[in-house]
């Protein structure tokens, strides 16, 4: 009896002590940011950021391997991160000077040598910057010069948005790569392939970070990874969170965590119904433009879809606002300019008077009908249009079955066009097969993306004119011609090869010349509609302001897209912190 009593008392004391310790711990709890990203745990996931299968933290990688600079889309200018200064030299090269006083998490200082390490090692895995880069050389302890064969804002972007890597980890590879570069060795050469094999099999034991946070092996679990402070890292005295918790998983997996208040910010594409449930719970939704969205592509070998007037009639016959809303709620914003470029980017590159002259293709089914009648089309007894060659306007529209928003866009567009008098069958196809079908020209109508998350129109126009048009040795790899659109286009501004113009618009440093090319691209796209943009996708990122204090949703920083993600920028610069 006494023994039992003693045990009980002992247990009570232990519980009391633990409670007290818990109380102390609660007072010292580190401030956390809870986000999410899908990653693969070891042994698949590893720390070699030059090899496939790396432990990939997506946008949050910048918090450990900071970029040289972040492009602020609203300003059209770069904000330096780990770079102190940068710019083109008079002789057409590019120099970057890193900030001094920053140390890697292994204690070694950040120096200009890390720039050589980063880019020379990148040569081994095919970084495209090396198409315009001849070598990287050290100017002084903190400065490196990039010796370029050509200059363009695109090249500058490729340099500045790259994540800095440590010499202490990759220095040996970089040194050998430097010798191969000097010797002109390339993929296929024996020495090159040997070093590449060595590099891809390399598994660093630790992740060496120069950002304000670092990732330690013991903080990676199946469920979440916790980034902890790297005291000597960039902006470690500026960031307002002690730790960054990243929950592992895709949209369906993290949804309960958002509802539960355990995940405070997510970049996932939540369905509108889920988004509405978040709003009901008081969770804010941040909507930044993604500069891309679904478009209706047609096969230009299929008559009469290869007729400009027919594509224009299609554009008039679809209510894009309805299409966007049923697909993605408030985050599906109808495309206005119908020019293959985001409405958010257009004013940066094109004069207002040109924009005013564009055809916005406002929903007008009557106009669409009269355009078809002018072409000699008639309606059959069942109301379906019959073209001037006597063929019913009957087509199949393929869409990626797994992409919920694109599937909704396809089904709504089909419903609208069928109501107008087309006979379209929407078919969901496995998403990889659907893409391949488009590459192979194995389609009549298809939903694919227009635009891309890049501030340069070149990249947006290479989607329709290159990726989905079987250009050269890129998209389709010669096995198909994509939508088979003739890139020699005649429009109100004259004649233009839109593929060449798109490529040229990203070359050189003459902004006025680039803007002129972009203007031609915008106007010609608007007139001939090689594809029909439906709507632009905006993010619907839940941000739980009960836990996070950040700028209001209309802050211009939320215009940042692509790799210049606003959330990592805000964390890095202290623009966001605990509520």
């Amino acid at each position: 009896m006494m023994k039992n009593l003693r045990t009980l008392i002992l247990l009570a004391v232990v519980v009391a002590l633990l409670s007290a310790l818990g109380g102390v711990a609660a007072q010292d709890e580190p401030t956390q940011f809870a986000g999410g990203w899908p990653y693969q745990v070891p042994p698949d996931g590893h720390f070699n950021t030059y090899a496939s299968g790396r432990l990939n933290m997506g946008i949050y990688q910048d918090l450990m391997e900071p970029p040289l600079a972040v492009f602020i889309w609203a300003d059209g200018a770069y904000d330096p991160m780990i770079a102190e200064s940068f710019g083109f030299t008079d002789d057409g090269n590019y120099t970057v000077t890193l900030k001094s006083g920053v140390t890697w998490s292994d204690g070694t200082p950040v120096t200009g040598q890390d720039l050589l390490t980063t880019f020379n090692t990148g040569y081994m895995i095919g970084w495209q910057i090396w198409n315009d880069l001849e070598s990287v050389e050290l100017v002084d302890d903190m400065t490196a010069q990039f010796n370029l064969s050509s200059q363009s804002p695109l090249i500058e972007r490729r340099i500045l948005t790259e994540n800095l890597r440590p010499t202490s980890t990759y220095g040996d590879f970089a040194a050998q790569a430097g010798e191969l570069i000097a010797a002109g060795a390339a993929s296929g050469d024996e020495d090159f392939e040997a070093l590449l094999a060595e590099l891809t099999e390399f598994r660093p034991e630790t992740f060496v970070a120069a950002g304000p946070y670092q990732l330690l092996s013991e903080n990676i679990t199946d469920a979440r990874a916790t980034l902890v402070k790297n005291e000597g890292g960039l902006n470690s005295d500026v960031v307002r969170f002690d730790e960054i918790v990243l929950w592992n998983g895709e949209t369906e997996t993290v949804t309960p965590l958002v509802s539960n208040g355990e995940l405070w910010y997510g970049t996932y594409g939540f369905p509108p119904a889920t988004e509405a449930a978040f709003v009901d719970q008081g969770i804010d939704i941040v909507r930044g433009p993604l500069y891309t969205g679904p478009g209706l592509y047609v096969n230009h070998t299929v008559y009469p879809l290869n007729q400009v007037e027919v594509r224009q009639a299609l554009a008039y016959a679809i209510n894009r606002e309805e299409n966007g809303f049923v697909s993605l709620g408030e985050s599906g914003v109808a495309s206005e300019c119908m020019c293959g470029l985001s409405d958010n980017l257009l004013p940066v590159w094109v004069e207002d008077d040109v924009i005013d002259e564009l055809n916005f293709y406002d929903y007008d089914p009557d106009l669409a009908a009269s355009m078809l009648e002018d072409l000699g089309f008639t309606r059959g007894d069942d109301g379906v249009w019959i073209d001037d060659q006597g063929t019913r306007m009957s087509f199949e529209l393929i869409f990626p079955a797994e992409f919920a928003d694109w599937a909704a866009a396809a089904e709504n567009a089909t419903a609208q066009l069928n109501e107008f008098g087309f006979e379209i069958t929407a078919t969901g196809v496995q998403f990889q097969q659907q893409q391949q079908d488009v590459y192979d020209s194995n389609f009549e109508m298809a939903i694919r993306n227009w635009g891309v998350g890049s501030p340069f129109p070149r990249d947006a126009y290479l989607q329709p004119y290159n990726r989905y048009n079987g250009q050269g040795e890129v998209a389709g790899e010669g096995v198909g011609g994509g939508m088979r659109f003739d890139t020699d286009v005649t429009f109100s501004g004259g004649e233009i090869n839109v593929f060449d113009a798109a490529v040229e618009s990203g070359q050189g440093t003459d902004l006025a010349a680039q803007q002129a090319l972009v203007t031609d691209l915008v106007v010609s796209f608007n007139e001939v509609l090689p594809a029909i943009p439906l709507w632009e996708r905006y993010g619907n990122n839940p941000l739980n302001r009960n836990f996070v204090d950040g700028p209001a949703g209309d802050d211009p920083i939320f215009l940042n897209g692509g790799v210049d993600h606003f959330m990592t920028y805000l964390i890095l610069t202290g623009g966001i912190g605990p509520a």
Binding site: G53, D222, T253, S259, Q435, V474
Partner: protein
């Protein structure tokens, strides 16, 4: 009385000489053996499935390089050309290589026990991946199966003994509902209702396989943590299969209760408990053990969605990832393990049944 030797004077046939059995005799004897035939069939089945899956997965849309190109384009917003260049540099896999030479290369390495390297994580051995993920699935699904089997057999017997009673009807309805709803629906319901709505547990804290702050090993905190993290998946496996066991056992028991030998046992005045255990229970449970053995084989394949749902990193979750990345070698490794598990469990079921029910063995030998 003298006994006439009928064989007297007859030529005695020569005593057959007992020569050593020839190789062919041995082959014939093995061929006649039920066990040996079953094992040979198993090996052939495994080879056939490996071959079938090898070609089947390569018929799936896309390939590892295409998937990686898409990933690079979407995440880094780089052009198709740049993504393709990077993918080509980082992968040793050539999607245009002859598929038959790939097959013979794979089989050649497989017979040496080499499952190859992951395509999407160059340098990572597939066997290491399987060793990392397999034990968690075996533990969670195995535990769930064991619990649901024991519970199902007990409740099924109770239902049969009380057939047509209120209890039987209630349990029949309950088990029908359990077996009619797919396990991932149960998983979602548990998460949403108990985790999110009622907040009975932290959805995040129960994710993963154990608390990372603990030292893995044979110690109580770690074991408790493992059990805690496996609780939800195990619960779903139990809920998802319990109804089937209950209904099967009920039907089997009712059928056995009508057998003559049970009536005879009753007529002999044996106690109810003895009849239950020795006459009804043993015979009614016989098909259940066969079912159990077969279910064990599907342990590995049946966990994909549940592991994804609860972020429980077992072989199912890994298979899901491998399929999404089109990592052919990793997929083949997992399929090989699943195939072996299914075939071996079927063989065990056959052998077990042949031991428990001699009629099967006799028929098989014929």
């Amino acid at each position: 009385m003298a006994v006439r030797d009928l064989n007297a004077g007859a030529v005695q046939p020569a005593e057959p000489t007992r020569s050593a059995p020839s190789f062919l005799d041995g082959v014939r004897r093995v061929a006649r053996s039920y066990t040996a035939r079953t094992l040979v069939q198993a090996v052939i089945t495994i080879w056939a499935v490996i071959t079938f899956t090898f070609f089947l997965i390569r018929l799936m849309p896309g390939n590892p390089v295409d998937v990686y190109i898409d990933f690079l384009m979407n995440q880094q917003n780089i052009s198709f050309e740049e993504a393709r260049q990077m993918a080509a540099s980082q992968f040793r896999f050539d999607p245009d290589a002859n598929v038959f030479s790939q097959y013979f290369d794979y089989m050649g390495r497989l017979v040496q026990g080499d499952l190859g390297e992951s395509i999407t994580s160059t340098g990572t051995r597939v066997v290491d991946q399987i060793i990392r993920f397999l034990p968690w699935t075996v533990f969670s699904v195995g535990l769930g199966l064991l619990i649901s089997f024991v519970l199902g057999v007990l409740l099924g017997t109770v239902m049969a003994y009380n057939r047509n009673s209120v209890l039987d009807n209630a349990l029949s309805l309950f088990s029908s509902i359990l077996s009619a709803v797919p396990n991932y629906i149960w998983g979602l319901l548990i998460l949403i209702v108990f985790g999110v709505q009622l907040q009975w547990f932290s959805v995040g804290a129960l994710r993963g396989t154990y608390d990372p702050t603990l030292d893995p090993g044979f110690n109580l905190p770690f074991i408790l943590s493992v059990l805690e993290h496996a609780f939800l998946p195990v619960l779903v496996y139990v809920v998802g299969t319990l109804g089937t066991w209950m209904l099967n056992m009920r039907n089997s028991t009712i059928s056995t209760l009508g057998e003559d030998y049970v009536n005879v046992a009753r007529a002999r005045g044996l106690t109810s408990s003895r009849i239950l255990v020795a006459y009804v229970g043993r015979n009614a449970a016989l098909p259940m053990f066969t079912l159990l053995a077969i279910h064990i084989g599907f342990i590995l394949g049946g966990s994909v969605i549940i592991e994804e749902l609860f972020v429980y990193k077992g072989i199912g979750s890994f298979l899901f990832w491998s399929i999404s990345q089109r990592d052919y070698t990793s997929m083949q490794g997992v399929f090989l393990v699943i195939t072996i598990a299914v075939v071996v469990s079927n063989v065990l079921a056959d052998l077990l049944y042949s031991r428990l029910d001699p009629r099967v063995r006799v028929t098989g030998d014929k």
